[in-house]
């Protein structure tokens, strides 16, 4: 997890295109300027960043399903819940599903767990649009490869 680059997911653990599901893993950094403010002497992973973890996890699945032809942009979050504090050094796993692929949008659901215990969940809506430019798409594909998504098998 690299807060400073907003790269929340360390790796994709499992990706099932047919089953429209994905699992990701990441480790909350021990140190970050974010924890200096959130909160002094009591560092907690902000809930807003847990939403981003869920949005990225399921967002990668949306891109895998469309063969990296279009980009899912986060436009809505519903029923977000944060069940227990997440702390520096915690190892998290997220499980995402695509509930629906509409025309120009997708709806997913994601849950986060620590050592098997639920820490957060949300339903997430994406507007799925063309990449703004080829360089952006290329950078996303490189990023996907870094987190161990089998891009070559998926790309269209």
């Amino acid at each position: 997890m690299r807060f400073e680059y907003f790269q929340m997911i360390d790796r994709i653990v499992a990706l099932d295109v047919e089953g429209r599901s994905v699992r990701s893993a990441c480790t909350v950094p021990q140190q970050s300027t974010i924890f200096e403010g959130h909160f002094p002497t009591y560092p907690l992973m902000p809930g807003a960043l847990l939403i981003e973890c869920m949005a990225q996890t399921t967002g990668w699945l949306v891109m895998a399903l469309n063969g990296f032809t279009a980009m899912p942009f986060l436009v809505g979050v519903k029923e977000a819940k944060f069940r227990t504090p997440v702390l520096p050094g915690d190892e998290l796993e997220f499980e995402g599903k695509v509930l629906h692929e509409g025309s120009g949008f997708a709806v997913g659901a994601c849950k986060g767990r620590r050592q098997g215990k639920s820490v957060c969940e949300a339903q997430i809506t994406y507007r799925v649009m063309s990449f703004p430019n080829p360089e952006f798409r290329k950078s996303l594909i490189e990023w996907a490869e870094r987190i161990e998504i089998p891009v070559k098998e998926l790309i269209k």
Binding site: V75, G76, G102, S103, T125
Partner: protein
């Protein structure tokens, strides 16, 4: 009015918190009911799920942008309901 319209109106009422009695077949989703594009995604999601179809929103948007169609054709609710009926019929064909 058609059963399809009734379901669509119920979806809109629930999704956008609009009084059901204000939603009429002649209502334009954008101009009259002031539903924005983001709320319409929620409506499209519910319509897709309810009717087992995929509203071709991208195609409709492109047609409107290209001047080949008007928003009335797709976003006046009686017309939207007819479009839904056609998509259901095409699915079963």
């Amino acid at each position: 009015m058609s059963a399809t319209f009734d379901k669509v109106a119920d979806i809109i009422a629930e999704t956008c918190d609009i009084p059901r009695e204000n939603i009429k077949p002649e209502s334009h989703a954008i101009n009259d009911l002031e539903i924005d594009s983001l709320d319409f995604l929620d409506i499209a999601f519910a319509i897709d799920k309810t009717f087992g179809i995929k509203l071709p929103l991208e195609q409709w948007t492109q047609e409107v942008n290209d001047g080949k169609a008007t928003t009335d054709q797709y976003f006046v609710l009686k017309n939207l309901s007819e479009q839904i009926d056609q998509l259901i019929a095409a699915k079963g064909a």
